[in-house]
Subunit: 267 residues, 2 copies
C-alpha cells in the first residue's frame, strides 16, 4: 500500500495551541509503530491569532464567528493533503460555530471528512461504558451555556450533570482562562487550576455522575500525569485521536486495551 | 501589528515524529503568552513515511537522499505561510543531506529562512557557556560517523568528545532505534534506553566533558522530566525553539532566565 492510498490527518491546532499539541501527542501515542516511517501523516495549522475566542463569541462579546478562520484552516489542511480532520476544541462544536464551519466547507467545495468531537465521545461512551447513564461534564462557560454536551447526550438516554453556575463561573472557567494561573496561559495545570478542576469533579460525583467528561481540551493537560481518583474520566481528545487514526489508516490503531484511555478507580 | 507583518514558523515534523512534537511543545513553552491568541503561528508537516532514515542514507544502506522529501516539505510549509523553518533532526544536518536540501530550496525558488540546528547550538554554547571548552555529544550513529558536531565545533575552539565506537553501536544507537525498547518506537524512554543514555553521559564526563549535547532530537525525550545529574545537558531542540520564536516574533520570546534550558548540577 503506497502512501497515497492511505488517509492523512489534519489538525486545527490553534484553539487552543496546547490542545492541538495534546491531540497530536495522543495520535502518536495511540499509533502502533516501531520506526519513524510507521506513523501516519499529520498536518497541523496552529494559527490561534486568527481564531476568535469561542466562548467570547457565544457570549456575544465579539461578533466575529471563529468559524470563518477555522473553516479556512480546514480548507488549507485539505489542500495540504489531509483527508480527515478535527478541531480539538469542544466549544467550537456549539451549533452556532460548528454548523457555520460545515456551511463554509460546503461553499469551499471541501470533501474532507471533519470529525465531530462530541459525537465521537458519545459513541465512545455507548461502546465502552454501556452501564453508565449519569455523566458529568466539566467545560468552559461557552460549552456550558451552549449546553453542547446535554444537547448531544440527553437524546441518547443520558442524564447529564454540570457544575452549579457559581462553581462554573468562579472556579472552572477561570481554571482554564485566568491569564496568570489558567491552563491556557501556562500549558499545564498550576496548583490552583488543578484544585479548582478537582473540586469540580467532586461536585459532579456528589450529584451522581458515574463518569466525568473533560469537556474542554485544556482540561486533560491537568490530568495527563496526575489522575484524580474516584471516577472514570473521559478524555475526548484521546477519543478524537483514536477516531482520526482509525479513519486515516485503521491498521495503525493500537488495540484499545493496550492504552489507558480512561482512569477508573472502583471505590 | 497585524498577523501578516509577523513571521510564521514551519516545522518539518516527521524526522522523527516525536522530535517534531517536542520542538512544537518547546516553542509553546518558550513563548510569553497569557491567552491562545498570543502564540505564534506554527505550521507542521509530519510525513515520516516519505523521509528515508537519515542514518541509513549516510551509511549507504539506501541511495534515496532524505533531502528530497525534506526540501519538498519545507517548500510546502513556505506555501502555507511559514517564513522561518527548522528540521528537528540532527542527522539531517550532515552536509550530504543538508547541503542537498539547500540546493533543492534554491532550485525551488524558496525564500524561507531555514535555521541550522547545529550552528544555533554552537552559538548558544558560545553565548551562554563561555567557560566551557570540552563538549561531549550523544547522537545516532549517522551523526556520529558523519562527525557533524566535531566538524562544526572544533573550528570554533572546542574539544569534542564522543563515546567509544562499541558504546555508540551497541548501546547509544539502539537506545534510539531499537524497535522494542528504543525512543523512536515508544516516544518516551524505556528504562533500558534511559540507562544506556545515562551510561553514555557518564562515559563522556569521564573523558572530560564539561557539558553534553543531546545531539539526537529523540534524546531529550528521555530527560525532559528526569534530569541526570553531574553535567550540563544542552538541548538543541530547545535552542532551536527559541531561535524560531526569535526570528518569527522576537517580542514573544520568554526571557532566557525564566526558562530552564539547561540542567546543571555543580557537583
Amino acid at each position: 500500500v503506497s502512501a497515497k492510498s492511505r488517509g492523512s490527518i489534519g489538525i486545527v491546532g490553534g484553539a487552543g495551541p496546547f490542545a492541538g499539541l495534546d491531540l497530536h501527542a495522543k495520535i502518536l501515542a495511540e499509533t502502533a509503530a516501531s520506526q519513524d516511517q510507521d506513523y501516519p501523516t499529520i498536518f497541523v495549522i496552529s494559527q490561534p491569532e486568527l481564531i476568535t475566542d469561542r466562548t467570547a463569541y457565544l457570549q456575544g462579546k465579539t461578533s466575529k464567528n471563529p468559524a470563518t478562520a477555522i473553516a479556512d484552516q480546514i480548507l488549507r489542511l485539505e489542500e495540504m493533503g489531509a483527508t480527515v480532520a478535527a478541531i480539538p476544541c469542544n466549544t467550537a462544536h456549539a451549533p452556532a460555530i460548528f454548523e457555520r464551519i460545515l456551511a463554509l466547507l460546503r461553499e469551499g467545495g471541501s470533501r474532507i471528512q471533519l470529525l465531530h468531537m462530541i459525537m465521537e465521545t458519545r459513541r465512545h461512551l455507548q461502546a465502552h461504558f454501556p452501564a453508565i447513564s449519569r455523566v458529568g461534564v466539566l467545560s468552559t462557560t461557552g460549552t456550558y451555556s451552549a449546553r453542547i454536551y446535554p444537547t448531544m447526550l440527553i437524546p441518547a438516554g443520558y442524564e447529564v450533570l454540570v457544575p452549579e453556575k457559581a462553581t462554573q463561573e468562579q472556579s472552572i472557567h477561570p481554571a482554564i482562562y485566568n491569564p496568570v494561573y489558567g491552563l491556557k496561559a501556562n500549558g499545564y495545570a498550576t496548583d490552583r487550576a488543578r484544585l479548582a478542576l478537582e473540586d469540580g469533579i467532586l461536585e459532579l460525583i456528589d450529584k451522581g455522575a458515574q463518569a466525568v467528561i473533560m469537556g474542554c481540551t485544556e482540561i486533560p493537560l491537568a490530568f495527563n500525569r496526575n489522575k484524580p481518583v474516584g471516577t472514570t474520566l473521559i478524555d475526548p481528545t484521546r477519543v478524537l485521536a483514536r477516531a482520526l487514526i482509525y479513519k486515516a489508516d485503521s491498521a495503525k490503531l493500537k488495540p484499545k486495551n493496550s492504552t489507558q484511555t480512561e482512569t477508573s478507580s472502583q471505590k
